[in-house]
Symmetry: D3
Subunit: 267 residues, 6 copies
Amino acid sequence: MARPNRLREIWQAGDWATNGWLAIPSSYSAELMAHQGWDSLTVDLQHGVVDYQAAVGMLQAISTVPSVVPMARVPWNDPALIMKLLDAGAYAIVCPMINNRREAEAFVAACRYPPLGTRSFGPNRAVLYGGADYAQHANQLVVALAMIETKAGIDNLEEIVDTPGLDGVYVGPSDLSLALGLPPSADPTDKSALEVIARIVAAARKKGKVAGMFTGGPEQAARMAGQGFQLLTIMNDGRLLANAAKAAVATARGAAPKAEKGPKTGY
Amino acid sequence: MARPNRLREIWQAGDWATNGWLAIPSSYSAELMAHQGWDSLTVDLQHGVVDYQAAVGMLQAISTVPSVVPMARVPWNDPALIMKLLDAGAYAIVCPMINNRREAEAFVAACRYPPLGTRSFGPNRAVLYGGADYAQHANQLVVALAMIETKAGIDNLEEIVDTPGLDGVYVGPSDLSLALGLPPSADPTDKSALEVIARIVAAARKKGKVAGMFTGGPEQAARMAGQGFQLLTIMNDGRLLANAAKAAVATARGAAPKAEKGPKTGY
Amino acid sequence: MARPNRLREIWQAGDWATNGWLAIPSSYSAELMAHQGWDSLTVDLQHGVVDYQAAVGMLQAISTVPSVVPMARVPWNDPALIMKLLDAGAYAIVCPMINNRREAEAFVAACRYPPLGTRSFGPNRAVLYGGADYAQHANQLVVALAMIETKAGIDNLEEIVDTPGLDGVYVGPSDLSLALGLPPSADPTDKSALEVIARIVAAARKKGKVAGMFTGGPEQAARMAGQGFQLLTIMNDGRLLANAAKAAVATARGAAPKAEKGPKTGY
Amino acid sequence: MARPNRLREIWQAGDWATNGWLAIPSSYSAELMAHQGWDSLTVDLQHGVVDYQAAVGMLQAISTVPSVVPMARVPWNDPALIMKLLDAGAYAIVCPMINNRREAEAFVAACRYPPLGTRSFGPNRAVLYGGADYAQHANQLVVALAMIETKAGIDNLEEIVDTPGLDGVYVGPSDLSLALGLPPSADPTDKSALEVIARIVAAARKKGKVAGMFTGGPEQAARMAGQGFQLLTIMNDGRLLANAAKAAVATARGAAPKAEKGPKTGY
Amino acid sequence: MARPNRLREIWQAGDWATNGWLAIPSSYSAELMAHQGWDSLTVDLQHGVVDYQAAVGMLQAISTVPSVVPMARVPWNDPALIMKLLDAGAYAIVCPMINNRREAEAFVAACRYPPLGTRSFGPNRAVLYGGADYAQHANQLVVALAMIETKAGIDNLEEIVDTPGLDGVYVGPSDLSLALGLPPSADPTDKSALEVIARIVAAARKKGKVAGMFTGGPEQAARMAGQGFQLLTIMNDGRLLANAAKAAVATARGAAPKAEKGPKTGY
Amino acid sequence: MARPNRLREIWQAGDWATNGWLAIPSSYSAELMAHQGWDSLTVDLQHGVVDYQAAVGMLQAISTVPSVVPMARVPWNDPALIMKLLDAGAYAIVCPMINNRREAEAFVAACRYPPLGTRSFGPNRAVLYGGADYAQHANQLVVALAMIETKAGIDNLEEIVDTPGLDGVYVGPSDLSLALGLPPSADPTDKSALEVIARIVAAARKKGKVAGMFTGGPEQAARMAGQGFQLLTIMNDGRLLANAAKAAVATARGAAPKAEKGPKTGY
C-alpha cells in the first residue's frame, strides 16, 4: 500500500499542521529540521537558495523521518519543475502567484496523472518513497496548494478556491501586503490585509478546502490556527538560525562581566 | 598592506571574541551567520558536515563581511589539509587532539612558511583575501590554536602551551570530559573538569597565549570570558537552528487555542 | 571538419541504434555506461534525477568515448534549457509531450540557428566537442525528436511528423498508455496502444523521418526494431541497476546452503 | 533507546548478511540500492568514486530504509575520516590493508570513544540516525572490520583477529591475490588463495569474530556463506550496472531480426 | 542605507564600465576575476556553463570585492529565474532575445516589486548584500538591460528602448549578426551590422538609456566606448583563459631552442 | 592493449612536454584547457582549489582529448589519495615535499601494484580510460615524479633521484626559493637557486630520470627546456586567466578615447 500523506490525516482529524520551511540548500540542515517536531517541511525553491538538485537531497533527508511530510514550493507555475519535484517524492506542492482560475487549473493539471491532469509518468524517487503502487494513488496522495498573494489572485479568490482538484490555498503575507500597497510584512497588522486574509480562509473553508499561511513566528502561527488555518509555516530555517545567532551574541555580550583586560598576546 | 587579523587586534586590546561555529555545509548559511555580529566564524571540518570544497565556499561567504575573521577547525593534525585551508584564506586554524609538544610543533610548522615552519607556498585564495603581500606577512597573520582535550594533552599542557609559534589553546569540553571519565558535556559542571579548564586558561595567560573554548550557550560563554578566555564559541549553527526550530514548534502548539476542528477536506 | 553525428550515419545505413538512458546524476555512472556498447546515451532531465549542471558532467563523460552519441531529454519544450544542452554538446534532443504542429515548430526552432530557427549563439562546449566549425554545421548535426505520448499528440500525429526540420518522433509508452486510458506500461500489450504505436512508426517512415521508442527490455527493443523503429532505448541506468541488484540478492539467498549457524559474536 | 545495529542481530542469530557496495557517488543510486533487499550497504571511499561529502548524502539515502545497515569503507587507516564517517551515521567501518596488531589497534581506537579508544565527540548525524542516546551506546553499536589482504596482514592474521574491540575481518580477494603473487581476482581459484581464505574465516570463528568478504557474484557469495563468512558483498553498483547494460545491448542486438533496412533519413 | 549600485554612479558620471563575463561555473575563478579591475562582472546563465546554484556561489565570490557590481545574464525572459537571481543579490540583469515591447515590459515587471512590477518578495541574499533596507530601494537599485539581437528586436528597437523602467539595452553581436544573415561574430565588420549597432546606441541615448555590448577584445571595447556605449564586456573568462593558454604553449614552443635530445627514460 | 602514456613516448623521443596546471575546480575549464595544445594537464590538489571529487570530473574532461596526458599533483605523500587518483585515471602523479629516500620509496610504493609496491587494487575509472588490461600494465604506465623543494630534499637529492621506480623529479621553484632563504619566486634569479636547479636536472639526467619544473611563463619554460628539463609547466589556469583579464581591462581603458561624457541616466 502506498505511503499515506499524513497531512490529509491531520486535516481529516480537523487538526492543523506545523510546517517548517527550508531555504538553506543542505541535506544536513534539512535532516536536522526533520527531527524538530514539524508535521511537514517545505523545500522552498522560490525564495530559498535551493534548486532542483539540492531539493532532491533535502527530500531524501526529510524521508529519513517517516512522520514528516515532504513538501516543495516551486518558484513558478512551471509544469516541468512541478513534475520533477513530484517525481522526487514531494507529497505536496505550493505554487506561488496564482492569479486566476486558468492558472489554478494549469497548476492542478501538472500535479495529476491523466485523465485528471497532464502529469508525465516517471516517478523515479516517488516510487521509492511512496511505495510500488505510488502511481495508482498519486492523484489522491499529492496535495496542491495555490498561493493567493497578488491583486489578481485576491480578486479571483472564489474561482481559484473552487478549482477542481485544488486542495487549498496558501497565503504569502509579504507579497499579499505588497499587492495591497502596504510594506511587505510576514505578520501584517493593517486592517485591509487582515480582512483579505480572513476572506481567504473563509473562502477555503466554505468549499471544504484547506488554507495555509506563512508566518513570522509561533505566536502568529497559533493565532492563525485559531482563525481556521490548517497549515502554518513558522519563518524559515535561515531566519530561525539568524535570529538565534544574533540573540546568542547579544546575550553573551550582555552577560559578560566588564572584560577584565586580558594579557597582550601575539606571535 | 596585507589585511590584518582582527582577532589579534581584539586580543591586543585585551578583549574577547565571540566565535560562531559552522557545521552546515552551505555558503548561504555561512553568509547568513557572517551578518549576526560574530567576531569570527570557524568552519568546522572535524565534527561539522564539511569537507574542503564546502569549506572554500564558506570561507568566501565569510569574506563578504570584512569584520568577521575566517577560521577553520581541521579534523586532524594533518599538514596537507591545514595548508589547503590556509591557502583558501583561513586566518586561524584550530587543531584538535594535540597530545604533546611534538604534535604541537608539527601543527605550528604546518601553519608557518620557512624558515619558521614547513608550509608550502601557493596561497591561491589567501592572496585574494589577504592582499598581494599576504605571503610576506602570513606567518604573523595566521593564528594557530591547539585543542587541549585528551588525557595526554592535559598532562602535557605546559609543554604544549609553551610551543614557539603557537598562539594559544582551545578547550573542547566534551572530549575533555570524556578524557576525564565523565559523560560528554559542552558545559561541564564536574569539579575535576572545571579545575582542568581553570588550569588551561591559567597556563595560557602565564605564557601570554590565548585560551579559547567551545560552549553550550551564551551565558556559559560570558562566564568563561570572565575567567579569562578570549575566544568563545557558542554552540554551532546546527544546534542554534535545531533549538530554535524545536522551540518554535512547541511555542506554536502551546499558544494555539484548542483547535477548533476544521472542515473535513480532501480531493 | 565538425564531428559527424553517428546517429545520422547509422540511420543513413538503414540500421537502428541502441540507446542507453541516464537517470542517475553522476558523471561516473555515465562514463561506465558509455563503455557498454550503446550507440547513443540520453541524459534524461525529465524523469531522471538530473539537472543542467549534472547533465554537463555526464555529457563530458559520454564524450570520452567517441563512438557514443550524446543526447538529452529535456523536461519540457523550453527553449532556454534546450539551447543550454545544445551548447553543452548534446547532439540530439528528445522533447516530451509535443501536442501539435505549433509546439513541434517551436521545439525545432530552439534547435536551429537562424534563419532556420531561433537558437542563440554561444556553443561553449559544443565547439569543443564538435570542432571549431561546429556552428556552421550545427543545424545539420543536431537531431530533434518529438515525443508522441499525449492524446493531442496522437490526434495530431501527421502534422507533427511533417514539421520541417523535425528529424523524427519518439514514443513514451507509459505516458502514451495513460493518454489512452490504460495503466502506464513500458511494454504495452493492449491492442489500442499497439495500434497507435504502429501508426506512429508508419507515419514517420512515410515522411522519411525516424521513429524511436523507450522500451522495458532488450527483447522488446529488438521486436520494435523489427517494426521499423530506428532508435531503441532499453530501460534506464537506475532500473538496470535495481533489477541486477535485486536478482543478485535473490540468487545469493537462493544459492546459499541452509546457513550453518555461525558463532555468536559481539563486542 | 538508540537504534540497534541490525548486523549484530543477524550475526547473533547465526545468520549471514548480504552486503551491497556503493562506488557511484550519488544519493539517488544509493537510495535505489537501499530498496533491493540488501541487509547492509557499504559506501566505498577507497575504490569507489566517493569522497566524504558524497558519502554523507549516500548515508542519508540509505537511512530512508530502516532495515539496511549503513556501512563505509575508508580509503586508509585514517582516524580523521573514520571519525567523520561515524559522525555521519555509519554503523560499521571496513578498514583496508591492516598489516599487524598495532594498525588494528589504531583502527579500533578510532572507532571507540574513551576510555576504549580515542574517538572524538561530535556525532552530528549519528545522533539523528542513532537516537539521542547514540553516544552512550556507540561503542557497542559500531562494527569495526579489518581487511586482511596484504602479505603482512596474512602473516599476522592471528594477532590482528585477536585485537580487543575488533569485530571481525574482511577479505579483499583481489589485493589478497596480488599479495600472493597471483593476478587480481574477485573470485580466486588458486589453491594458495583458497587456503588463505579458509585460514582467515577459521581464525575469525575461533575467536568469536565475524568474517566478511567481497565477492564477484551471488553464487560465490552463497558458497562463501557456506564456508562460514557472515557478511558477503556482491560486486558493486558500478559493476552490476555495467554488466546489466552490456547484457541488455547484446541481447537486443542478438534478438533483433536482420534489420529490415529503414528509410534514408536526414534533415 | 542600502548599498548603492556603482554602475548607476559610473553612468551618472558619464563614464563607461568595463564588464567581465563569467562562463566557468566556479566561485574561485569568479573571485579571481573580481580582483582584476572590472567595474562589474556578469554571471552568464545563458551561454555560460552556469546554473542557479553555481551562480549563487559566484555572486557571493564577487561580493567579496565591494567595488565590483554583481550582474547576471539569464537564459531566457523567465520571471522565476530572474527573481531568484535578484534574490541572490544580482544588482543588474541582462535578458536575451527581447523581441518587442510586450516582452520588454514583462522583463521589467519581473525586476520590480509592486506596484511597478510583479517581483515576489523574499530577498534572501540580496538583503545580506544590499543591506537591511534593500527591499525599499530595490526598484531603484536593480538595473534591467534588454538584449537587442533578433530581427524582431531590431525592428522594434524604439518601442523596446522606450519601455518604462528599462534601464537600457545590450547588444549581442553574434546573434545580431545571425539575425542579419551574417556569420556570427563578436566584432562584426559588415556594414549592415555596424549600422544597426549605431542605431541601437543612438536610440538608447536619445531616451536617456544606457547601451551595453559584448565585445571580442579590449580594443573593440574601447572603440565602442568611443561610440557611446556605457557597459562593455570583453570576451568571457573561458575565452580569456583559452587564448592565454594557447599563446603560452605557442610561445614556449617557439622560444625553445631546438630540443637537445634528452636522455632515454623509463621505468 | 592498454592506452600508452604519451609522456613516455615524448621522453623516449628525447623531447619535452608542455604541461598545463589546473587550480580552478571545474570540469569545464579543464576541458577548455585540454584543447589548447598542452601535452599534459596536471590537476593540482595541493595549491589548486581542488579536492578529489572535483579532480575526477577534471580527469574525465581531460580524457575527452586523447592526446593530453592526465596528471595530478597530490597535496601530500598520502597513499590513500595517490591511489584514489590513480584509480580515477591519472597517468602521472607529482608528489610535493619529498625529503629523503624513505619518503621517495613510500611515494613510489603507493603508485605500484605488488610486488613492486603496495597500491591497492580497484581501478574504477582507470580501467575505462586505460583499457581492460590497464591493471597488467599500470606499473609501467604510471609516471611518478617527486618534488625537490625542501632543504632536506635538496640535501638528499642523489638518494631521492636514485629511488627504484621513481621516474623523475619536479622542481617547485617557490618552495625551493623559500628553502634557500630567498623570497618565493616562480622564476628565481638568485645564483644559489639557479645552481640548485642545475644540480637537480643534472642529477636526474645522470640517472636516466626525467626532470620537470613549474615556471612563471613560456619564455622561462623554453629556457628550462634548453637546460634539459623534459616537463615544463607554465603558470596555472587561474594565473593565466587573471593576467589575461587584468591586461584586457588595462588595454580597454588605455585604448579608450577620453570618455565623451555620456548622458545622465537613471530609472
